[in-house]
């Protein structure tokens, strides 16, 4: 290399050395500058996206595996603000094809893109059929595939994003709506099973960071799906009970109705219906249907004065304490004074000499008040407690009420309350409390706790729910005596509650409705609770019609409803008839029971 050319190489080398040094210096200064932290955070932010893995909500089955609540795909339509070309076209397309409000969409799609405004939701809960319309909006172009998040093939709508997500679906629509409850758009369960088992059904959503760089892709964590539930409800029995209840409400002009069917041995609720009901797929109508604080499920959420069906509790307590026997005689003079008030029979008549059996058969208030006073206030309220009144039953449904029981020692309790309470006035209970208390008569004195969930399926295993008992308020002998007494009562009265071929036990209840000034005139709550077949009970059926118009007597409106339900229930349960009824079913109107 000629020496005279050496300086050129040195200049070039020096130039590159300085250039390299400058690059290194700049790199170093950026790394150590005060903004370095900000740049690092930004780099970190843009290198990954935050995602939430929402596990599918657990499915709810009836006892035979029919789906009562499942999941369906719906879409959230949003817009990538940086890609918006024509907000008017977006607003027009969404209002025409999806039914969104034009002005709202236009306003949102016109928001300028910024680091804080990247994506805006324009419509949610959009059905796949409508998204299909969007995906094939421009007929001149090939439709966007359904698995693409881009909503449309039209260049003016390229900014639209359609994200598929799961939403609750109720294939049976309004069937069992009172006990199922519903799930809102934020995946929160309201009422019934959906609320009671919210955490189990919903599972645990997991928040994850998804790297943008494909080289850093990691396996997404396995998020277990929400637990599925098998209910004790039988879909066919539930549908039958709802249909029968609705028919009787229409026939009697009642304001509302409630019916419960329970397996008395296990506490499994086979059906539970009340009015009103709603199509759970349109839960947004809840506010229009349940106005004026109407309970969502009257069977657990509404308290009422039960009237004469409560006499079974008074009689059971008196028998259990040995205060009376079914043959004990009482001279009914038509009036009984206790605590300064005069108690009269339902027909204001004196029934003369009666046995306890006769008192129950003719549902005599005077006799029951005498029985209660003979038992004594302390023992009477002890049995009220033992039967679970004034406490929640523990049924696994949201919104259970505990009822109202005034006890001696309470500032608003008077001796007159004891008299009224013996025949079910001045005390407020829930239908489910009545059903649980009566289960003692079927299970040799043991009360079974009603439940709605039969099994939980979680992590691939099935956990069956076992029967639980809520104590033994009465002896086995008292339970059998009560059942026999009430079966004989129905036969003796040729009650409309009787069903040909089956021996049943039960009791009517006609109750006045309390108002702040006393009791309503000519308005009643009519109910009936019964069980059978007496020799091997397979069901307890409770019915309640509120303010019926055709008659104020339970024997005329509630008893036929009970009989209609039982007549169909025995067919659905496959219970063969094995009894020749002594008194045939009569349609002659009210008997002694009211």
């Amino acid at each position: 290399m000629p020496r005279e050319h050496m300086w050129r190489y040195l200049v070039m080398a020096g130039f590159f050395a300085i250039f390299g040094a400058l690059i290194l210096y700049k790199t170093y200064s950026i790394q150590t500058s005060p903004q370095a932290e900000v740049f690092l955070r930004q780099g970190e932010f843009y290198s990954r996206e935050r995602g939430i893995i929402q596990p599918p909500r657990g499915i709810i089955y009836d006892r035979n595996g029919n789906i009562l609540a499942g999941n369906r795909t719906v879409y959230e339509i949003g817009v990538d603000l940086a890609s918006v070309r024509d907000p008017h076209a977006i607003a027009l397309a969404l209002s025409a094809l999806v039914g969104a409000d034009y002005n709202t969409v236009l306003e949102r799609a016109s928001i300028p893109a910024s680091p804080t405004s990247v994506y805006v939701v324009l419509a949610s809960y959009v059905l796949p059929e409508k998204v299909n319309l969007l995906k094939s909006y421009d007929v001149t172009r090939e439709a966007e595939p359904m698995d693409s998040t881009r909503c449309s093939n039209d260049p003016a709508l390229y900014a639209l994003r359609c994200e598929a997500q799961l939403a609750r679906s109720y294939p049976e629509r309004d069937l069992a709506s009172n006990l199922l409850g519903f799930v809102n758009r934020e995946s929160l369960g309201y009422f019934g099973v959906e609320q009671q088992y919210q955490s189990l059904l919903a599972g645990e959503p997991e928040s994850i960071w998804i790297p943008v760089a494909p080289t850093q892709v990691q396996a997404r964590p396995e998020v277990p799906a929400g637990a599925s539930l098998v209910l004790t409800i039988d879909r066919e029995i539930q549908a039958m009970v709802e249909d029968t209840l609705d028919a009787h409400i229409t026939r009697t002009g009642a304001e509302s109705g409630t019916a419960i069917v329970m397996d008395p041995k296990t506490g499994e609720l086979l059906a539970m219906a009340s009015t009103p009901r709603m199509d759970l797929n349109e839960f947004q109508n809840y506010g229009d249907i349940y106005t004026n604080e109407v309970p969502y499920n009257r069977a657990v959420g509404e308290i009422y004065e039960p009237g004469s069906i409560f006499k079974v509790i008074t009689a059971a307590a008196a028998l259990d304490q040995g205060v009376v026997t079914p043959e004990t005689e009482y001279e009914d003079r038509g009036v009984y004074t206790i605590g300064g008030i005069t108690i009269r029979n339902w027909n204001n008549r004196a029934w003369g000499l009666q046995t306890v059996q006769g008192c129950m058969q003719h549902s005599l208030n005077v006799c029951l008040a005498w029985m209660g006073e003979k038992l004594g206030q302390e023992k009477f309220y002890e049995y009220i407690d033992r039967f679970g009144f004034g406490h929640q039953t523990g049924v696994d449904l949201a919104g259970e009420q505990s009822g109202t029981v005034k006890r001696p020692g309470d500032p608003n309790w008077y001796l007159a309350d004891l008299g009224a309470n013996t025949f079910g006035q001045g005390i407020a209970v829930t239908p489910i409390q009545m059903v649980m208390s009566v289960s003692a008569f079927v299970n040799d004195g043991q009360m079974v706790i009603p439940h709605i969930v039969k099994a939980v399926i979680q992590d691939g295993s099935q956990y069956n729910v076992s029967t639980q008992y809520a104590g033994q308020p009465i002896s086995a002998e008292t339970a059998r005596t009560m059942t026999e007494m009430l079966a004989t009562s129905l036969e003796g009265e040729s009650s409309l509650a009787m069903v040909s071929g089956y021996r049943l036990a039960g009791k009517t209840g006609t109750a006045q409705i309390p108002v702040p000034t006393g009791y309503e005139e000519n308005q009643t709550n009519t109910s009936f609770i019964g069980w059978g077949p007496v020799e091997n009970p397979r069901f307890i059926v409770f019915v309640w019609l509120e303010r019926p118009e055709t008659s104020t007597w339970a024997s005329e409106v509630a008893s036929p409803l009970f009989a209609d339900i039982v007549e169909r229930l025995v067919v659905l349960q496959g219970i063969p008839p094995n009894y020749q009824n002594i008194g045939t079913v009569s349609n002659s109107g009210a008997g002694g029971q009211q």
Binding site: P56, R72, T73, S169, P214, T215, A219, E236
Partner: protein, 157 residues
């Protein structure tokens, strides 16, 4: 015969030294290029597979949603209301209690309880087992081989 020694006047001629330096530099550049190429190749393959994994993950979510959707659709098609309507269309009517004939079958306990998953804590024999070939070590395999032929050298029994 006398040994003669020759001494080189210069260690290398200047053009040889230059050629050597250029050679080393070129070799270094080639090595770097090779490394860069390998890195690029591995990264590209990782990216492609990463994208594939991402698309499979999305596909899995989509299929799960599709299954849930179809289950709900099937439930709607077989709902109580739909089945009743179909039964009526087919000429069926609800049975009247008087028309039912019961046949008592000794020992029949009625419909069995619904079992949608194995009971918790119970034995479940239906799980497919992974063949041992996928889990056993080389030593295990050799040991098994010896056992099979009756040597019993590694098993100790």
């Amino acid at each position: 015969m006398r040994n003669k020694s020759y001494i080189q006047a210069h260690s290398q001629t200047p053009w040889r030294r230059q050629m050597q330096m250029i050679g080393f530099f070129a070799a270094a550049v080639a090595a770097l290029a090779l490394l860069a190429g390998l890195y690029l190749n591995v990264t590209a393959r990782a990216s492609t597979i990463g994208r594939h994994v991402q698309s499979l993950q999305n596909e899995r979510i989509r299929l799960q949603q599709q299954i849930e959707n179809m289950e709900s659709q099937l439930a709607s098609l077989t709902s109580n209301e739909a089945m009743q309507a179909r039964a009526e269309q087919s000429g069926f009517a609800p049975v009247q209690p008087a028309a039912v004939t019961y046949l008592t079958v000794e020992g029949y306990r009625g419909r069995a309880s619904l079992q949608l998953a194995p009971r918790a804590g119970g034995q479940f024999t239906g799980v497919p087992r992974l063949p041992e070939a996928y889990t056993e070590s080389l030593l295990d395999w050799v040991g098994k081989l010896f056992d099979e032929y009756g040597f019993g050298l590694l098993g100790g029994y």
